[in-house]
Symmetry: C2
Subunit: 256 residues, 2 copies
């Protein structure tokens, strides 16, 4: 949004922030599209209907087609009078069942869900085991090979800290600095589901899915840790493994 447009919007008087959970399976990502239905299209349409004026959202993170969110954060300016605590219920009564508003609060006029975000956590779920679970086909990446969790944990430690993540950025991405900080990673096993999370100050386009793709190659034994380190150090996307599928990825949390 242009600065003058934002200033005009702010004169509406209220800055509403929402937490949103969505199943990204049926959407062309989060960001508004002209010729396809994205989560933002649906949210803006229903919120505009609810508030009786055109609602324009800013969001903490863009998610790709098929990627999910457990807690996406958005904000918008409104002159509408709906009490803040009633907004989730009112919005959910209009929204489809795969997009749910789980919280609403009012922020000061300078808060931006996008620009005020300090850190984000992404979660990636991998289903292991003898057979793929039909209920998780859009919500995990099914990997039949046995994964060596210790070696994946060692690689996760290498990824923590301030690094140039060029090896894991999308080919042909926007020309922005490839340096990011990952504060913390975690690996948990729940039954046959492997959950890997990344908590950091920002992520390059496809960065999480590219790290996961390469971690799975490593864990399956098709690559060793020395090779993983070489790829990471080379700052060259062409060396890493293919991008992991979108269905396993979740925007888990945004910190302000």
């Amino acid at each position: 949004m242009k600065r003058e447009h934002i200033e005009e919007m702010k004169r509406r008087g209220r800055n509403i922030v929402l937490s949103i959970a969505y199943d990204g399976t049926g959407y062309h990502g989060f960001q508004r599209q002209n010729n396809a239905v994205a989560v933002q299209n649906v949210l803006e349409e229903k919120l505009s209907q609810l508030f009786g004026e055109t609602v324009e959202l800013a969001a903490a993170g863009r998610t790709d087609t098929g990627v999910h969110a457990l807690e996406q954060v958005v904000n918008f300016f409104t002159s509408g009078k709906i009490p803040t605590d009633k907004i989730p219920y009112a919005a959910n009564s209009l929204l489809p069942k795969d997009i749910i508003v789980t919280n609403a609060w009012e922020a000061d006029m300078n808060f931006s869900a996008r620009h005020s975000a300090k850190a984000k956590t992404y979660l990636y779920k991998i289903q292991c085991g003898k057979f793929p679970n039909p209920f998780l086909r859009n919500y995990t990446w099914y990997v039949r090979e046995n994964l060596n969790l210790e070696i994946i944990e060692e690689a996760l430690e290498l990824l923590e800290g301030v690094h140039d993540f060029s090896s894991f950025r999308a080919a042909g991405g926007a020309p922005m600095s490839p340096v990011r900080e990952i504060y913390e990673t975690s690996l948990k096993v729940k039954d046959d589901i492997l959950e890997i999370s990344f908590y950091g100050n920002g992520f390059l386009y496809h960065m999480v899915r590219n790290m996961i793709g390469t971690l799975v190659t490593l864990g399956s034994g098709r690559m060793n840790l020395t090779k993983f380190k070489e790829i990471f150090d080379a700052k060259d996307r062409t060396l890493a493994s293919p991008t992991a599928p979108p269905g396993g990825l979740y925007l888990l949390k945004v910190e302000y």
Copy 2:
């Protein structure tokens, strides 16, 4: 299948039994349909392709549109030579990702997945909590009211044993005996998910979903236990609550 047809089929020489898990969301139930896609249509088509002859399945239980199975059991006769332990992988490579063969074994020629079944377990999942979970919209029934679990457990005890289940059978169902035995029920809570299971020798059409509908009315406080007992004793379907939605129901296990 007619007797002569079965005898002809048996001359194929092998009686293969499969365990199947499926997400019923996209299907018009399990049983083969002429003008809609049921799970059986897809299974028979892919197994026929795999075995190079027309495969006709018998199944332990029929499930309705939107109802799922964690372990449905089917059998079919074949003259095909595929080793039994290879069948799941070969079948899964042809099947869509919402239907998965999880086991295969060879049975004697008199075994019927349908007629040899001695007992079945159905599971019903209810999601409680402040907001519906967008990822569970097709896999649970979302109930916003607080449910009194102790009173639901008392009612489950009433349902155990040999009873006339007329009050919970589908209106206009087939004219078969309404007497069934429920060996055991269970109620478990996992985070905000309530799991209620019924282990019994047989179930009338819609019986589990009708019991669940009435148990939720009871648990929400809109009905007391005396009323629940009256409804059960009345043997009159018109008194019980509406049928619970299909997405929360799973065929969990079949016993032979």
